[in-house]
């Protein structure tokens, strides 16, 4: 029982089916770990242990009565960006410190319907703005591999909770790399699906045209299990697209069954020199190149491709995302919900103080940037130009994909850094240099662990796919994981028993 949290989702499902343990035992195991160890890493904002126990009991009864849903009774937790009915939903902000959502996000109810058990709400950068979880009103999260290091952001709580063995899988959201970068920092696999694949209804918006929810786990297959109930058309989200419904786990199993000793024969992996640019940490580059070598050994062909200069992409992102954010965050005005300043003297005072006191500095910085970019006289020079570049980025990807099946790159230029490194915002934005083009183009991408630095910090490799090709990404990463053990390394906290 002491190592339940080290089991894969597949093993948990099998264990529940074979009655090696009950959902309640499993849930208790995780709750015990969270209670004992989360004070070290601060990954949860809200615990829902009591409802989780009740749900676990109910799940055990349903399973006993023949309920066959594979995920029935499997624990997980949600990034606090997803609205959960009757449960505090803060988005990592003081602005929503008292907001109990009256409704469930679509993915929350979908995961609920799959029978999974939510252990709570996970810490995150405020309104998903940040790359190291330092902008959370609820404090930074420590990296379970090394408590002096950041877990990455903005899904830092999700990454840390999975890496610490508090939940087998967790939801995240990715606007410019917010699933992939923390997955990379915490030695996990995390996938950001194609834009439109997962409903955004109930996911508190940062930049609507870039935001997409995804899953995080210790392996590609774990990610596939959680992603499955998340996807599909949602009539409540106009940007959610009707598209054929894959079965990710089945696809992985089929590929595994068909694979010989050269599982990647015929796979063309595109590598862009733009993704090995100045600022790339040498140890990260070494690990990533070694992983590419492994892919080649297993049959893949490496082809050179060109993509848009990441610096241009970065500038484009930091124009468009704040522009949308400045508008999306207007509803947090102290009038109807959330934080309201004390004793406002008039309406303007109510607005300005509620927003100045409720939003943290990073959020204010981006609102101001975005407001500026959209303001009369600057709109064409900034917003319109950025939209044009965005179309060029899409075009560049289309051209690159003409000669390859997936594109590989480092996920982040460095491994997890120390919070005390105190990066200035512009330097921190550089951490997104390899991940944001994917969001601008609406493509699916995944980060998988490919090794550790000399200090024992995980390094991630990013795989970018064509639109709607999550299955290919998950399958590719899974087959790689069948031949390597990077994803089986455990963080210091995960190794602790309680």
């Amino acid at each position: 029982m002491s190592e339940l949290h080290l089991l894969s989702t597949q093993q948990l499902i099998t264990g529940l089916q074979d009655k090696q343990f009950s959902s309640l035992e499993l849930t208790e195991h995780y709750i015990k770990r969270i209670d004992a160890l989360d004070n070290k890493i601060n990954s949860f904002i809200t615990h829902t242990s009591e409802t989780a126990r009740a749900q676990a009991k109910a799940a055990d009864e349903m399973r006993a009565q023949g309920d066959q849903r594979p995920l029935l009774g499997v624990p997980m937790a949600h990034k606090d960006i997803f609205c959960t009915q009757g449960v505090l939903t803060t988005c990592g902000s003081k602005m929503l410190h008292n907001f109990v959502s009256p409704y469930d996000a679509t993915i929350v109810s979908n995961i609920d319907k799959a029978g999974m058990i939510s252990l709570g709400k996970l810490n995150m950068d405020e309104f998903a703005m940040g790359s190291d979880n330092s902008s959370s009103y609820y404090g930074t999260v420590q990296n379970p591999w090394n408590l002096e290091r950041v877990p990455g952001g903005s899904s830092g709580g999700s990454a840390a909770a999975v890496a610490a063995g508090f939940v087998p899988v967790a939801t995240g959201s990715d606007t410019g790399g917010s699933i992939r970068q923390p997955a990379s920092f915490c030695g996990l696999t995390g996938i950001k699906p194609t834009y439109g694949r997962v409903s955004r209804f109930g996911m508190i918006a940062y930049a609507s045209s870039l935001d997409q929810a995804g899953s995080m786990g210790r392996s590609a297959k774990d990610c596939a299990y959680l992603l499955q109930p998340m996807i599909g058309h949602d009539p409540r989200d106009a940007t959610s697209i009707k598209y054929d419904m894959p079965d990710y786990v089945q696809d992985i199993n089929d590929a595994e069954a068909a694979a010989g000793d050269k599982p990647f024969a015929g796979l063309r992996i595109g590598v862009a020199k733009e993704y090995f640019s100045a600022g790339l940490d040498a140890e990260v580059e070494t690990a990533v190149r070694a992983a590419l070598k492994k892919y080649e050994e297993l049959g893949a062909t490496i082809v050179e491709v060109n993509i848009t200069d990441p610096e241009i992409t970065l500038a484009t992102y930091y124009m468009l995302a704040p522009a949308e954010a400045s508008s999306n965050l207007s509803r947090f005005d102290g009038v109807r919900f959330g934080y309201r300043c004390e004793n406002p003297t008039d309406l303007l005072d109510l607005y300005t103080r509620s927003r100045s006191e409720g939003f943290g500095p990073e959020v204010q910085r981006r609102i101001l940037t975005g407001t500026y970019a959209l303001s009369a006289g600057y709109f064409d020079a900034y917003y319109t130009k950025a939209q044009k570049i965005r179309r060029l980025i899409v075009k560049d990807f289309d051209e690159a994909f003409a000669s390859c099946d997936v594109i590989a790159s480092p996920t982040a230029p460095t491994a997890a850094y120390k919070l005390t490194d105190n990066l200035d915002p512009a330097t921190m934005y550089l951490g997104d240099v390899y991940t944001i083009a994917v969001n601008l183009a609406g493509l699916p991408a995944l980060s998988q662990p490919v090794g550790l630095t000399s200090e024992g910090l995980p390094v991630g490799l990013q795989l970018i796919g064509k639109h709607w090709q999550e299955s290919q990404l998950l399958t590719t990463a899974h087959l790689f994981q069948q031949h390597t053990d990077h994803h089986l390394q455990h963080s210091a906290i995960a190794k602790e028993t309680v």
């Binding site: 988005c91 959502s101 207007s330």
Partner: protein, 508 residues
């Protein structure tokens, strides 16, 4: 159009415009109309659009702007907007997009209003109106429409419900609107009114809006400026939220006077938003340009562009009702109605439909008679009871049934009035032949038997020798007295023509 006609129009236009100058100034008016579309649910949510409920009872989480919620476009508003676009002969935005207009206000839950800025659903068009309609100085004019776009309505601030505080009612938030923007083509309050009435008639005619001004479902903002003839456009002020035809005219005229007074005193008109106070009959500055917002419009990333297929437009166009101007012309030409009658009978689509349903029964040859009964007796009675034609207690078939009895001489005009009253009181029930039942039950059949009438006439002559003598002595009026006596004796049932004829014969 021939050159001669164009010249005539130009001459006429010139004459009209000269008349319109006020104290030597030319008035320029452009109008924005916010018209609620009559969908059952809101433009971006499934909450109902019903009016007059408890505050915040008709607002969903989407209308409340809760974190995480997203808008989904109600397809019903697109069809309605396209109908309007076709109705004003406009270019249609087959690719139209939604933008966000950002500003803070307590009744604007999201901090932005979803509207169409860059690519509206209706482009340039026009509507033909008659100014001073029905008056001696009426004249036709074509008014340009710049564009019309879809947007969501905001909620309402309620200042008197909570002591010392302002409440917010979001029932109206998300109600679909079409904002219709005119060219600055109006040159007087009368022209503005004619335009607004024409748009009002069109949207109700098309069935896309209830357009009840008192409920705010049809609201007008008028941009007014004055200039010396031939000069550049003057600085405009915007009169906000005018919600009755009467106030529109008065407000515009007050604003024209105010602006001219300023200019005459050597001052400058400042760009401002004005409110009209009907009690004091004056316009007042609500806010000036200095307070104006930078709305930071940008495309709403939550809504995909709307792409409309040509076949959708074709099928909407095919299903369009005949529009007021065309219908009026047809009533004049095909049915031989006077201009006046045709105008009254196309006052609303429901009136026109009712009238045509009657004509379909009685035949086009009797359209004039049908028109007279619809306009005179029916609309008169309904008006007195403050009812719409759709609430008429007499169905078109029932009215036609009565008209058939007039035609076949069963009813005289006088008897018909009695039958009409009985029909109006629903004494004949629902049946199409209600008039026949009433005639039967009340014995209102006209007497046309010559012998029977002659007998009555003879009796009247015998009893009224004095009158007979008067008539024979040259007093024509006495004849009418005798007719009256005959009618009285027959209890109104004798055919008046026959009575006349027989009386003349017998009196020699």
């Amino acid at each position: 159009m021939s050159t001669a006609t164009t010249d005539n129009n130009a001459v006429r236009e010139h004459a009209v415009r000269k008349e319109l100058f006020v104290d030597g100034y030319e008035v320029v008016i452009g109008i924005e109309i916010h018209c609620q579309l009559n969908t059952e649910s809101k433009i971006f949510s499934s909450a109902p659009t019903d009016f007059g409920h408890e505050p915040n009872s008709q607002a969903s989480i989407v209308d409340l702007g809760l974190p995480g919620v997203l808008p989904v476009l109600n397809a019903g508003v697109v069809d309605r907007a396209l109908k309007f676009g076709i109705g004003v002969n406009a270019e249609l935005g087959l690719f139209n997009t939604f933008d966000r207009k950002n500003y803070f206000y307590p009744d604007l839950p999201k901090g932005y209003q979803i509207t169409q800025m860059a690519n509206p659903i209706v482009g340039e068009g026009y509507i033909d109106v008659v100014v001073n309609e029905g008056e001696k100085n009426e004249y036709p004019k074509r008014m340009g429409i710049t564009r019309a776009h879809l947007e969501e309505d905001a909620g309402k601030s309620v200042h008197d419900a909570v002591d010392g505080m302002t409440g917010v009612d979001l029932n109206r938030a998300g109600t679909p609107l079409i904002e219709i923007v005119s060219e600055p083509d109006m040159r007087s309050a009368h022209e503005a009114l004619a335009y607004i009435k024409a748009i009002h008639q069109l949207v109700t005619w098309l069935g896309i809006s209830d357009a009840v001004m008192a409920e705010g479902s049809f609201r007008c903002d008028c941009n007014v400026s004055v200039r010396e003839p031939g000069a550049e456009l003057g600085t405009r002020t915007e009169l906000k939220n005018l919600n009755s035809f009467r106030f529109i005219e008065r407000a515009i005229n007050r604003e024209i006077e105010r602006q001219i007074d300023i200019l005459e005193d050597g001052g400058q008109v400042l760009q401002a938003t004005m409110l009209y106070d009907p009690e004091r009959d004056e316009t007042r500055v609500m806010r000036t340009k200095e307070d104006a917002n930078d709305y930071r419009y940008f495309p709403d990333p939550d809504l995909l562009p709307v792409r409309i297929e040509q076949h959708t437009v074709d099928s909407i166009r095919a299903a369009m009702p005949e529009l007021p101007v065309a219908r009026r012309a047809r009533f004049e030409e095909a049915l031989g109605l006077s201009e006046y009658d045709a105008r009254i009978l196309t006052g609303s689509r429901q009136i026109a439909d009712y009238f045509e349903a009657v004509v379909a029964e009685v035949g086009q040859a009797d359209a004039k008679m049908a028109g007279n009964w619809v306009m005179g007796d029916l609309l008169g009675a309904l008006n007195k009871d403050d009812k719409e034609i759709t609430d008429s207690p007499i169905s078109a078939k029932q009215l036609a049934g009565m008209l058939a009895r007039i035609k076949d001489d069963t009813l005289s005009g006088k008897l018909a009035k009695k039958v009409f009253s009985a029909l109006y009181e629903r004494e004949g029930g629902d049946a199409d032949d209600a008039a026949d039942k009433i005639i039967e039950e009340k014995g209102l059949k006209q007497e046309t038997d010559t012998g029977a009438i002659k007998a009555i006439v003879e009796e009247v002559i015998a009893k009224n020798q004095a009158m007979v003598e008067e008539y024979r002595g040259g007093k024509e009026k006495a004849f009418n007295g005798l007719v009256g006596q005959v009618m009285k004796a027959s209890r109104g049932s004798a055919n008046p023509q026959q009575v006349n004829q027989i009386l003349k014969e017998l009196l020699g």
